[in-house]
Point group: C2
């Protein structure tokens, strides 16, 4: 069973795989083919049974009966069946590996990422993210849900077929707590949201914006950690991603697709990660927090300085990254 | 000039390169040759003038007049000539790019890493680390010094010739502050050092040790973030790396070389990072902190989950990594 382990000095938690531990790292990064891909249509039996399946709109015209599948991770970091019991070994703390770990197979097409899908198909992915969050909220043991995507081997993907992941945790991660606390402190001082202030300042400065529509803005944040890091924020304050209405989903899909297309064009299809930052749930809800998506192309390595300090060294100022990203089209080519 | 920028939400600092910003990431990772390597003997004019040069013991028998050079980084993240002035842009905070950024060219040999050097040559590297710290301590504006090494492209090295780096910062990084606070809290409760407690528990358990001599122990920490992560700790409590005496340097060199050789043999010469964690300086000194070296082979990518939560997913339990590392020799082969 998986296990949470706590560093006794700084309190940082680690999830450790106890069941299928890995000791051999000699394997080359393999190129997968659609024949052996467990996420391709026809290979459904290679995955655990689906939690949800969304049928194809025109199955007769499509090679696949489905447009999107949500499945439990076959090699889960955490499991809903585990207990969240805390135990000690001498000075060390452990928690049982309770949690949710799901995979969203974003489309039947092995070779088309979110950037390349139709607006409706991209919107479906975001709707499913929201609906899975709303469903998992019912389990009162889950205090935080992270939705994230690793696209490309260099960004940590282990399968090529475009997919994203959802992890529901019994603990609120320290990084999120830090942001929640920062937002709450600013609100206590000013009765304003710090992210809303950032957007207001940017509406005047216009140096960091790369895309904007009625409901969403995509910016390169002032203190970007990574070259060409982009954040997508709702223009109106909202603390929880899963409160997004059906009406606003097309605008979010459009902002995400434009961002990914711009990165793809400018940087030559880089590997990337994105993460949806949203408020904790169940009594830890933080109404002064402003949910957003962080998109990080994988262009440099996290190295000794970053590992050692938690600081980042960024060779590309945000305003320069924004200028470059504005210069390429975000439309489907 | 370089610039520190602060994220207004979570307070995280980033160092941004304003002078030689990078926008082109299409360049392939290049294999460097000894002819064009700025760190090889004969090419000294390609680097800034050395801060210190250690002569070769037998220059007549050696291809190089020097055994080790310390130079200012040619593309420094920070500069000692900059001011540490704080300025604001609306809601955002900036600090001028004051700091030290030095490169330690570990030996004249382009192809021999620390693991492959003679014990005396490895010891010299550690002595130089200490002496540079003692020298930079004299500048009261520097509050923290990180020594780190990126070995291999995948670990973020930009040049192949074995080298390490030193960065002196006007701020104590939040990650270090967290460890300092954790150590101080434990000491306040127990009047004991938390790292000494870890070593005491390990002396009984013996599950995590991979190497031990009179003064140093190398262990895989219980809450390892990464597969085959190793920490090297002095057995007797000491808060500051630069307090190490000449008598103890050979033992530290031996522990570091044995660790690197074991990783090399077991994992097929992986890229790796190491960082020396030591107490802040100048009034922020933390006597309950226990200095140590963290060695991290680069086997997996930091991906969306880690970026999103600050949590880590580790596929290899520490005790299993230790068992495997004990099974290979740490002697020079």
């Amino acid at each position: 069973m998986p296990q949470f382990r706590k560093d006794p000095v700084n309190g940082r938690w680690v999830i450790v795989n106890m069941e299928t531990p890995r000791v051999d790292f000699h394997l080359p990064k393999h190129a997968s083919s659609t024949k052996t891909c467990p996420f391709c249509p026809g290979n459904e039996a290679m995955t655990p049974p689906a939690i949800m399946t969304y049928p194809a709109k025109n199955p007769a015209e499509s090679k696949s009966a489905w447009q999107l599948r949500v499945i439990p991770n076959k090699f889960p970091a955490l499991r809903i069946e585990e207990s969240a019991e805390r135990t000690g070994i001498g000075i060390y703390d452990r928690i049982g590996g309770f949690g949710a770990h799901e995979v969203i197979i974003e489309s039947p097409d092995h070779h088309r990422d979110i950037a390349d899908l139709s607006p409706a198909d991209a919107e479906l992915i975001l709707r499913v993210y929201r609906d899975r969050c709303l469903d998992l909220r019912k389990d009162k043991r889950i205090h935080f849900i992270l939705i994230f995507k690793n696209q490309g081997w260099d960004a940590g993907a282990s399968l090529e077929h475009p997919h994203s992941q959802l992890i529901g945790l019994p603990i609120v991660p320290s990084r999120l707590l830090g942001e929640v606390r920062g937002s709450a402190d600013h609100f206590a001082q000013t009765e304003r949201c710090i992210h809303c202030d950032m957007l207001d300042q940017e509406k005047l400065d216009k140096k960091l914006t790369i895309f904007s529509n009625d409901d969403f803005m995509a910016i390169t944040p002032f203190a970007s950690r990574f070259p060409f890091e982009v954040w997508i924020l709702p223009k109106n304050h909202a603390h929880s991603f899963d409160s997004i209405t059906d009406e606003k989903l097309p605008g979010l899909a459009s902002a995400l697709q434009a961002t990914l297309r711009k990165l793809k064009k400018l940087l030559g299809n880089p590997a990337y990660n994105f993460m949806i930052y949203t408020s904790p749930i169940h009594g830890r809800e933080a109404k002064s927090f402003h949910w957003h998506i962080e998109v990080i192309p994988h262009l440099t390595e996290v190295a000794g300085f970053e590992l050692g300090t938690g600081f980042y060294l960024n060779p590309t100022p945000a305003e320069l990254a924004a200028e470059q990203l504005r210069s390429v089209e975000g439309e489907m080519s």
